[in-house]
Symmetry: D2
Subunit: 385 residues, 4 copies
């Protein structure tokens, strides 16, 4: 069975080649043991451990449509509206258990989106991206990989197209085309869980036009490619994790679990043909972005709700400590927090329940409702907090 | 097949015995032809006509679990989460087509709620309410009745219980118990579509305590019982419908369709045993209220969204007439209207998709999420408008 | 002393020449006695009566800077920040007393704005508008006139300028220039209190460009000019005022006081030179619009707050009737209503307290803060209601 | 002239006796040079330096009603509504210049409140607190002191009164009464600028009842009393200030200025009679709390608006860097930020402009409107951010 335990997952990270990781201006030597990074690894590891837990197995795993095996739902191509709802419930569960970002959904969303887009490109251009991607997808499932869904370029001046930027590397692009593959250069910003991943699934970040052909590349590269450089992103109170005094835990807030984002620099990385899923088909960029975003907007209707549950619980506990848990204005506020949180959840569920089967065979959420979900994610969590 | 046309529905209203209906302090003689009431009948009639329309048949009808026949979904006991979602879609459709309240959902919600509660009472008290109700329900389906879900009492001083009120008739109650039935007195306020209904399905409005036993009555009475008096409720611009000048239509806003609420006074109405579905089981009042409210809160996630669609379309048309349809702040506002409306719809869909089968056999929405839906109904439509 | 009583004011309306007033498609014969119009006259009359009341004299009157006499504050050129704050307090008082629009502030705001702009035009173009306006202003004070501040044109296609419209009369404009004056044609929409006024003070509604010179006209015309036609505007429940049955009052809501807006059509109205305060100086239109709007935005920080006070009181009374006045969620809602209402008041006061003396000699509110006030008026009253 | 420069202020801090200050669980040896504390001192120092700056003198200083001398407005008893508005403008200015909390307003607000309450207590009980306080106030002015307005006790179980708490020291109270003064024990939480102050002006935090007499104490103690212990409060990203690498400044956000709060423990501190301004007059606690809170609520209408100005400017700059400064949805958001910020300012100004002279002789803001201001402070800054 392909399912890894959390421990096996961490071991698999150790088996990667050495990676160039910088934090606070300095290269980090043993990144996996670094107190800040460690917390973010704990979160991802839980996505493995809960899949082993009989209580959560149903929501955490699914039957692969490719191999028939039980796979982690994070490696799954959704096969029904129920699958889409189960995804939301899985993310809410993990939000509750970690109280933070567990980093593995961006990849799941990218996999489902690339699955659809490769099918559609092939239908129009008679390319064979979809078969390549199916092969890749089988590896993903079999190895229970964590994938970094890798879309956002630094972009520079937003009023200009990729090929118009002063610095040509502000969007990931092909700098050399070879017989057996391509060389890419550029960077992707805010990459969730980048260092904790086995692979980056790179996608274009914008609709593109003809002149942006070299910027139209979708492909997979291993996280430990020697030509990748990682700049570990700061989070607001990150340094508190470095406080190792006995009470350091308290000020840290969430001592066990953490999130992670990186700026990932691709400094002339070679990608072999079989790992390329789109190459110059500019007219499909918009579709890929929309599909990926749609899935990802749905995700927020789960994960943020789980984190919201933690906040609501914490707020209720504080009220108890203060002896104010029965005060009507406090109860009103807790009720309002629940109201907003469940509205968000409703949006996550609704876009899932209205999901439809795609020609490629997996299920796609309702894109309009997924967008509504995302819009509310930009509002409610801030009111809850 | 039990399905009536709109025309047959209107004829069936005419076949009722004469009813005592007052409006603006005067008795109305030919209520069905009254210009204000007529508009509200048009709305109900559309719930019949659309069920005949091949385009809408799927959403407007369902297969009865009792008779196996195709029935109007308004007379249906929901058999699946899909049924619950179809209900929401039906209500949105009718909201779009009428732009107002079409009055028939309160009864549908009451039927499903009483179905559940009678089953539960019987399980505990070995009464036979559920079988009585099944008999009644078969009539409802076979006659394609419009039912007034009849819950809200005038209530008087809200800080006092029913039996504590100065005026004993502020809540509907049993004034006499006979061998073959009971006599009830009291009133129900804000009864949607009361005059356009064939039957009133009366339910208690509150959790009750032992001393409120006489107030604990759930039963059905025909709308044309001679001991019922109707006070037709005013709506904000109702008199405009009386303007019969050529341009009267314009100021009227919605010239074809309208809503309706009445104060319905039960002035010693006899109810035979076979029409009584609860009688003194005070401990089940709360459950009935919650179940009915839950279904009704879900309903708003459909009907109000349909009316919202009309408002959004109207707002967009006005912008076009003014030559401002491309202005960014106008488009932002239209987008925001859509956002709020679809959030509401998401709530309607989510509580449906998370619905579960009850021991009685029909499907009940998720009560927490239905409540969330209702809370948003008390907010968003006012921001949309 | 120039101060009229309410009764004298009404008499002065009767002394006007016959006016062409249409309502619901028909010409009204005795407009001042019409039950709908009467209510709106009562509101204006109160602005006269309260000025006589020793309790309110201080806030309702001021000492004229032109004549030294005590004048109604509605006819006053503000002489200090205190005057500006007193204006806000006067409007709040009248909002509380009438619960509706009392129609007289638009004129007050127009007078103060035209006072400033005529001074500024003269400074640049050596015209003598300011002296003409001072003469007019003395008449206003001496006769205690109610003035319709007359700015909003129907405008047609908002993406086109006045001179580009298909129909040349969509903005008021000069159709003929004579030796002793001009003839104007066009209409002004939504004119508050138009029929209850003695005069219209006409102003351009937009910044204008060179080609809109004929549309650049500011002038005063008597309300009873025979070439003016009034289309009385509908209000949501207006027909209820026609119900003369004993209980008609209850459904009417506000039986004594009402508001009024009209579409006022200027069908070739002659304006003599001494009543013209701007004529083709296109570069001053924007300034006049801004100044008038600024004063008017301040006004809302008073009148709407007064009406809000009535709503809050009504809501509190309903809670008492229902026996729910001590319920915490009801008190929270009342508190929130007060909070929003007083925030609005704060905005009205703040733009006044930060007011500055103009070169013309009167006081102008802080324009930025007055705009803030208006923005909140477009939000809070709807949340309060 | 009593006005100190920023440099003289810092010197005066150095002249204090050694203080016991703990941060992150350890005693700090040279607190004034500590990189985190230094930033907070810079903010206070600016309140001195700007008072010397001819551009800001008018808003930063005032003429003392006690000595006739020019004093820093932070040491001033407000003499007019203009003074109250000038206070708001001073705080907005400092918010703009520091982008953070400059810590000196709590003391100013405490001084004005104690001035009023001592006068009122004396009127009722023929005590001589007011004269004592006037003597103290002259020292404050003459030395240009920074005062910590010291009100908030830790409070423990909020459902119990001070004398009912399990731990008697959860509210500051008198543990010994001597001939020449009292000994107090307890703590005050969240004390803004505690370590950067010359004095603590201690006030009760609640309305008190008879049994809470020992908890009813208002008095002044020097910040360097040897029996005081300071626990320096954490702020979200505080450790970033410790990063001394070349680019540390960037991540720090606001490298120059900072805020400060401490938990201040009074471990048997002696207070001589002449420094006691209230002692057991429980019926005046509520009044003192309300008056102080009122002044402080007004303050937020200045300082938070200044910080808001910085945020708005920063947001506008980011948009420029991204090449999106002309995008309509970005401009809308900036406009909305300005709108909320100026609404807050309006509330600060309005409660000032409606301020009234007290019997004691200084000016008190309108308490209702100051409360409105505070309520908006709990909403708008979070929406702005
Ligand atoms: C916590 C976190 C985790 C993330 N994880 C991932 C991840 O795992 N993988 C990944 O690929 N990405 C990730 N992202 C990136 C995320 O998808 C982007 O931040 C998001 O898409 C916005 O892109 P941006 O930051 O470049 O902002 P922009 O897109 O530049 O937007 C900034 C502002 O400018 C406006 N704007 C931008 N372009 C234009 C234009 N042409 N015209 C007008 N207005 C414009 C926008 O509307 C917005 O208001 C993450 C982000 C965060 C915050
Ligand atoms: C358009 C419309 C159509 C309707 N159609 C129907 C229908 O078809 N059938 C039907 O049965 N009903 C119908 N209703 C009635 C509706 O269900 C009730 O209006 C609703 O349940 C509220 O009841 P109420 O009007 O008695 O208000 P109340 O329940 O009295 O509430 C008024 C306020 O008082 C508070 N309150 C009430 N009691 C207490 C208490 N004991 N303690 C503290 N606070 C309290 C409430 O929270 C609320 O803020 C309709 C209503 C409307 C507006
Ligand atoms: C109760 C009431 C009383 C009134 N009393 C008076 C009065 O006494 N005197 C008086 O003179 N007026 C009065 N008015 C009119 C009021 O000043 C106008 O309604 C207001 O200025 C808006 O003008 P409008 O109705 O023409 O709408 P528009 O200005 O046409 O605005 C409609 C929408 O179109 C947008 N829009 C308009 N033009 C453009 C453009 N060129 N580009 C992009 N977007 C555009 C607007 O932003 C808005 O969203 C009153 C109005 C009301 C409701
Ligand atoms: C940045 C900052 C700076 C500050 N600076 C100063 C300063 O310089 N000097 C100073 O004296 N203080 C200062 N304070 C403290 C501030 O005044 C208090 O935080 C505030 O008054 C709230 O008190 P609290 O924190 O004890 O919360 P609480 O008062 O305990 O409130 C917590 C919650 O419990 C509720 N609650 C509390 N008691 C009851 C009750 N009996 N019944 C029902 N509900 C109840 C409240 O409504 C609230 O929702 C500062 C605070 C902050 C955040």
């Amino acid at each position: 069975m392909p399912l890894k335990t959390g421990k096996e997952y961490i071991e698999s990270l150790h088996q990667r080649k050495p990676m160039k990781i910088f934090f606070l201006g300095k290269k980090i030597d043993a990144p996996l043991g670094h107190p800040i990074i460690k917390a973010s690894i704990n979160s991802v590891a839980l996505t493995y451990d809960l899949a082993q837990d009989p209580n959560y197995k149903k929501v955490m795993t699914a039957q692969s449509a490719l191999s028939g095996e039980t796979v982690n739902r994070f490696c799954h191509l959704h096969q029904s509206a129920e699958d889409l709802m189960a995804k939301v419930n899985m993310l809410r569960l993990l939000g509750q258990k970690t109280g933070t970002c567990f980093q593995r959904c961006v990849g799941m969303d990218a996999l489902n989106a690339v699955f659809i887009t490769t099918f559609e490109i092939d239908s129009q251009y008679f390319t064979n991206y979809h078969q390549r991607f199916l092969n890749y997808m089988q590896l993903v499932e079999a190895n229970d990989w964590t994938i970094d869904g890798c879309m956002t370029d630094p972009k520079g001046d937003r009023s200009k197209r990729p090929s118009e930027q002063t610095d040509p590397d502000l969007f990931v692009h092909i700098v050399e085309r070879r017989n057996d593959g391509v060389i890419i250069r550029g960077a992707k910003a805010h990459q969730t869980g980048a260092i904790n991943s086995h692979e980056h699934l790179i996608m274009p970040t914008l609709t593109m036009q003809q002149e942006d052909k070299d910027y139209t590349i979708c492909c997979a590269v291993p996280a430990d490619d020697p030509n990748i450089v990682y700049l570990y992103g700061r989070q607001s109170c990150d340094l508190r994790r470095l406080d190792e005094s006995p009470l350091g835990d308290i000020d840290c807030g969430n001592p066990t679990f953490g999130g992670q984002e990186c700026l990932v620099i691709f400094d002339n990385v070679f990608v072999p043909d079989e790992r390329i899923f789109m190459n110059g088909e500019t007219d499909f960029c918009g579709r890929l972005v929309d599909t990926f975003s749609g899935y990802h907007r749905q995700s927020y209707g789960g994960c943020k709700v789980g984190v919201g549950d933690v906040l609501i619980g914490a707020a209720a506990s504080i009220a108890e400590y203060n002896g104010t848990e029965k005060t009507s204005h406090i109860r009103d506020k807790l009720t309002e927090m629940i109201h907003l949180n469940e509205t968000l959840y409703s949006c996550g569920i609704a876009c899932s329940a209205c999901g439809q089967k795609t020609p490629a065979g997996n299920f796609l959420i309702d894109l309009l409702l997924a967008n509504i979900c995302k819009q509310n994610v930009t509002r409610f969590p801030f009111e809850i907090a």
